[in-house]
C-alpha cells in the first residue's frame, strides 16, 4: 500500500507562517537589491538631468529665501587689529604667479548700464574720495575664514555719486583676470559694502586684487570680485564665474 502523499499545509495555505516568512525574505531581498542598484548606479541617479534641474531650481529658491533673510541694516561683526589673520590667505581660481598685473597709470574704471554719469574713473580720482576702513571676517565657500583690514570708498556713496539707478536689481563686475560676478542692489547699498583700494593700510597689493576689489562682509568670499575693470547696473541677471558653474548666486552670510 502506497502511503498517501500528504500535502503540507504550508504549501497550500498562503497565510501560513513559512510562506509568510518566505515572502518576507523575498521582499527584503528585493529591497536590498534595489538599494544596491541605487548605490552602484548612484552617479547616474544623482547626476541625471531631472535631478540637476531640481537642484538648480532649489538654488534659485534659496536665492529668494536668502534675499528675504537679508537685513539691509544688519552689520557684520567687526574685530580689533589683534584678530587679523596674518598672513591673510591668497585665494583664486589660479595660482599666485598668475595674478594679473594692472598698470595704474593707464587704468580706467569703466561704468555701464543704468548709470547717469558713465565717465571712466582714474585711480587718483578714487583715492581722492572719502575713505573708510573696516576689519571684518572673510568667509570662503570652502568653509575656512580669515579676518582682514580693508580700506576704501563706501560703495553706496560711489553709486550715488555716479548716478546709478538704485532701484535696479543687479550690480555686475568684470575683472582683469576674466572673473565676473554680480550682486543684488540691497547688498550693494549695505553700509559695509566697500569699494576697496587698500589692505592693512597699504595700497591693495596685486595678490589681494590691485587696483580694487569689492569687499562685501555680508557675502561669501567668491562674491567679492578682485581686479575690477568695469562696473555695470542692470535688471538682467548677469550670473557669475562660479555661479554659472553651480555655486549659489546670493551666497549671503
Amino acid at each position: 500500500m502506497k502511503p498517501k502523499p500528504r500535502l503540507s499545509r504550508d504549501l497550500v495555505d498562503p497565510s501560513s507562517r513559512s510562506i509568510q516568512a518566505l515572502e518576507r525574505r523575498l521582499f527584503l531581498k528585493s529591497s536590498l537589491s534595489l538599494g544596491a542598484i541605487t548605490l552602484l548606479s548612484g552617479c547616474n541617479v544623482t547626476d541625471s538631468e531631472a535631478v540637476q534641474r531640481v537642484l538648480w531650481a532649489m538654488s534659485r529658491w534659496n536665492d529668494r529665501a536668502q534675499a528675504a533673510l537679508f537685513d539691509p541694516q544688519r552689520l557684520a561683526p567687526t574685530y580689533p587689529e589683534s584678530a587679523i589673520t596674518r598672513p591673510f590667505p591668497f585665494n583664486a581660481f589660479y595660482t599666485e604667479d598668475e595674478v594679473p598685473e594692472v598698470d595704474p597709470t593707464d587704468y580706467r574704471l569703466e561704468l555701464a548700464g543704468a548709470i547717469r554719469d558713465k565717465r571712466p574713473w582714474q585711480l587718483t580720482q578714487l583715492y581722492a574720495l572719502p575713505q573708510i576702513t573696516q576689519i571684518t571676517r572673510h568667509v570662503c565657500v570652502e568653509g575656512w575664514s580669515a579676518i582682514g583690514k580693508w580700506g576704501g570708498v563706501n560703495f553706496r556713496v560711489f553709486l550715488e555719486l555716479i548716478g546709478a539707478d538704485l532701484t535696479a536689481k543687479y550690480v555686475g563686475f568684470k575683472c582683469a583676470d576674466d572673473y565676473y560676478t554680480s550682486i543684488d542692489m540691497a547688498t550693494a547699498l549695505h553700509p559695509q559694502t566697500l569699494l576697496t583700494l587698500r589692505y592693512a593700510d597699504q595700497v591693495l597689493p596685486p595678490r589681494y586684487g590691485f587696483p580694487m576689489k569689492l569687499r562685501i562682509p555680508t557675502k561669501l568670499g567668491f562674491k567679492n570680485p578682485k581686479h575690477i575693470m568695469a562696473i555695470f547696473v542692470t535688471n538682467d541677471y548677469p550670473g557669475g564665474y562660479w555661479e554659472d558653474k553651480g555655486y549659489n548666486w546670493f551666497s549671503g552670510l
Partner: protein, 205 residues
C-alpha cells in the same frame, strides 16, 4: 497581513521616519563633500561615500536637503507633541532603569516588546532629538554668521561653530550606526516600520 498582527507604527510615524532617513542620508553625504573642501582634521571622507562629486554640487544637495530636513523635522516635533507620541513612548525615563537596560545591552540581552520602547531606546530617541537640534542650530550659525550672528556667537564664533556642526554630525552618525546595528540584531523590527504592523509579543522576553 496577519490576522493576529497589531498596529505598532502609525502612518505619520512611518512617513516621517522614512522621509527623515532620506533627508539625513542626503545631508550627511553632501556634508562630507563640503567638509572635504576645507577639512577640520587630517583626513577627508572617501569620494565614494560623499554626494555631489564636487563642492558646488555638494552645497546644492545640502541646501536642498535642508528644506526636506527642516519641514520633516518640524512635522515630527508637531506630531510627537500633539499626538502624545513623545510622552507615551519616550517617558518616563528613570536613571535606574536606564542603567539596567544598559547592562543588559552590553551583554547583548536585547529584550524587545512590540510597541514598547525600552529605557535605552527612549534615551536614544530623546538624545537624537537634542543632537538633531544642535546639528541644525550649528548649521544655521555657519550658514548665516551675519544675519544670525547672536546664534553664531553662542557657538563661540564662526570657526568654532564648524567644529560644533562636525561633532553633532559625528554624534548623529554614531546614533545611526547603533540604530542600524540594533535592526540587524533584532530584524523583526524592520518590517513594522514599513507595514506598520507586528505580531504582539507573546511574553516579555
Amino acid at each position: 497581513m496577519d490576522a493576529d498582527s497589531i498596529p505598532v507604527h502609525p502612518t505619520p510615524v512611518r512617513l516621517l521616519h522614512w522621509a527623515n532617513a532620506i533627508a539625513m542620508l542626503v545631508m550627511i553625504a553632501s556634508g562630507w563633500q563640503i567638509y572635504n573642501a576645507s577639512p577640520l582634521f587630517a583626513f577627508r571622507f572617501a569620494k565614494q561615500i560623499t554626494l555631489g562629486g564636487w563642492l558646488a554640487a555638494g552645497l546644492q544637495w545640502h541646501f536642498a536637503g535642508m528644506w526636506l530636513l527642516a519641514i520633516n523635522g518640524l512635522g515630527w516635533l508637531a506630531y510627537g507633541l500633539v499626538s502624545g507620541h513623545f510622552r507615551r513612548h519616550y517617558l518616563p525615563l528613570a536613571p535606574r532603569s536606564l542603567l539596567r537596560a544598559l547592562g543588559d545591552a552590553v551583554h547583548l540581552r536585547l529584550p524587545h516588546q512590540v510597541g514598547v520602547y525600552n529605557p535605552l531606546q527612549r534615551a536614544a530617541y530623546l538624545g537624537v532629538l537634542v543632537i538633531a537640534m544642535l546639528l541644525v542650530a550649528s548649521g544655521l550659525a555657519i550658514w548665516k554668521p551675519v544675519q544670525l550672528q547672536e546664534l553664531t556667537a553662542l557657538f563661540g564664533g564662526y570657526d568654532a561653530a564648524r567644529f560644533w556642526h562636525f561633532f553633532a554630525m559625528t554624534a548623529l552618525a554614531a546614533f545611526l550606526a547603533i540604530h542600524l546595528t540594533m535592526v540587524a540584531l533584532v530584524p523583526r523590527t524592520l518590517l513594522p516600520m514599513i507595514t506598520g504592523r507586528a505580531r504582539p509579543s507573546r511574553e516579555l522576553e
